[in-house]
Symmetry: C2
Subunit: 258 residues, 2 copies
């Protein structure tokens, strides 16, 4: 197994500040991408339009050629979501793929310090840059669809009506992004104040400092109006509990100094 | 008071699909931006670099010229966070400001349907496009710093050591984005399946369908090692409870059909 692989430090992904919080570790970056529900995907729409576009999409790391690859190995990012006709055209026209940037951030806490300037969030953030192309073969599409469905709820694919029929296969568009470079940033720990404020009791006796842990809670599932399965399946129940408790644990771990 | 203002539909922000979920309403879009802790800000780094860059930043809507402006009125977006030397240079060199795209998305639920294809998230998403410039005057900087600090915890500014001293003022960089256009997307409700699946009892008797509400919880605040204020101030306590209960309520409201 390949271990401790890192993304190359290039001009575009080199972190110039807070280096202690920065990481180029594949495993860490891929894990952040996989644990955040919605990714933001940016691309340049056309030479005449000065503004980049950002689309919210679902995405997951994977390797169709080496499906058993671990998160610490080189992987592609598979994206699913609303594909505008413009994005469709751009991705089709691009020979090597459309250059995109993918970002995902999760807030783990509110960091409250003595002065406004040192206020911050505890967070995990990952950014990938790469070339996006549409997945062409049904086999690879199926591979990505399963990974994306299982990202919503672990093991969900096997508990739904599969495989997708021909119409569903044709109407589904999946983008595969070959990653060129990536980076991650993690902020954890309490507030960091300066001695000029910490040594003044008139300030420290008045200003509460600390961290408010923040985490995503998955609440009790609500059956749809047309649901015919009386009791909530165990795999959903377990997933809901597992994710919430992992998220809570992570937010509390993030309170500790790194 | 100006009411029901909408962003102009231009080529770059027109939503071509799921129009029922789309909105151009200023109030809705500004509210989404203000209620999401971390925004993703995208820009084109240079003509030679094909990849857009995305930076996670804190941001808030406001108007320095009309501080009493409501969320349904035209506002700028003030951004604070790590400003790379590249972004710094680009924003300084740009005459009218650097074209940026700002995106914010919050997940409100996991939508579980009969088939993988109809799986989705309940979510709120806002995208703004505009020109970013550095705030030059101390007065406007202070205005933005207060709004940004109060975004972390409502009313926090007044409970910290203010005003920032000269060094803090100089070292703080705030970007003001003049908004050109914006759009929002909201997905709520349960799963939408097709009759071809809903009419098959072999499927409906096996596949649980419904929504898992998702919301951000603010947990009990953890004092820092150097904190000298013994009991948690009421404004923090109240804020933590209010935000968590509003988030929970929102996620459950989102389960209902729009």
């Amino acid at each position: 197994m390949v271990q401790d692989l890192v993304y190359p430090k290039k001009k575009q992904n080199t972190l110039n500040r807070y280096n202690s919080r920065g990481t180029y570790d594949l495993s860490t970056i891929h894990h952040i991408i996989n644990s955040i529900s919605v990714l933001h995907v940016s691309f340049a729409p056309s030479p005449e339009d000065p503004f980049p576009v950002i689309l919210p999409m679902i995405g997951v790391m994977g390797s169709f050629e080496y499906p058993s690859a671990d998160l610490n190995e080189p992987l592609d990012c598979y994206l699913h979501g609303y594909v505008s006709s413009r994005l469709m055209r751009l991705a089709r026209e691009s020979g090597n793929g459309l250059p995109v940037c993918i970002a995902a951030t999760k807030v783990d806490g509110l960091v409250l310090s003595l002065t406004p300037n040192s206020h911050s969030y505890n967070y995990r953030s990952a950014v990938l840059q790469g070339y996006a192309k549409f997945v062409e073969t049904d086999q690879e599409k199926l591979y990505a669809m399963q990974k994306i469905t299982d990202k919503v709820v672990e093991g969900r694919w096997d508990h739904t009506r599969v495989p997708p029929d021909n119409v569903e296969m044709t109407s589904t568009t999946i983008l595969r992004v070959s990653i060129e470079t990536g980076s991650g940033k993690i902020r954890q720990g309490g507030p960091h104040d300066e001695p000029k404020d910490e040594n003044r009791t008139d300030i420290t006796e008045k200003v509460w400092t600390g961290v408010v842990p923040v985490y995503e809670t998955l609440d009790a599932p609500v059956p749809s109006a047309t649901n015919k399965v009386n009791s909530l399946p165990e795999y959903i129940q377990k997933y809901v509990q597992k994710v919430t408790s992992e998220n809570r644990e992570h937010a509390h771990e993030a309170v500790k100094e790194p």
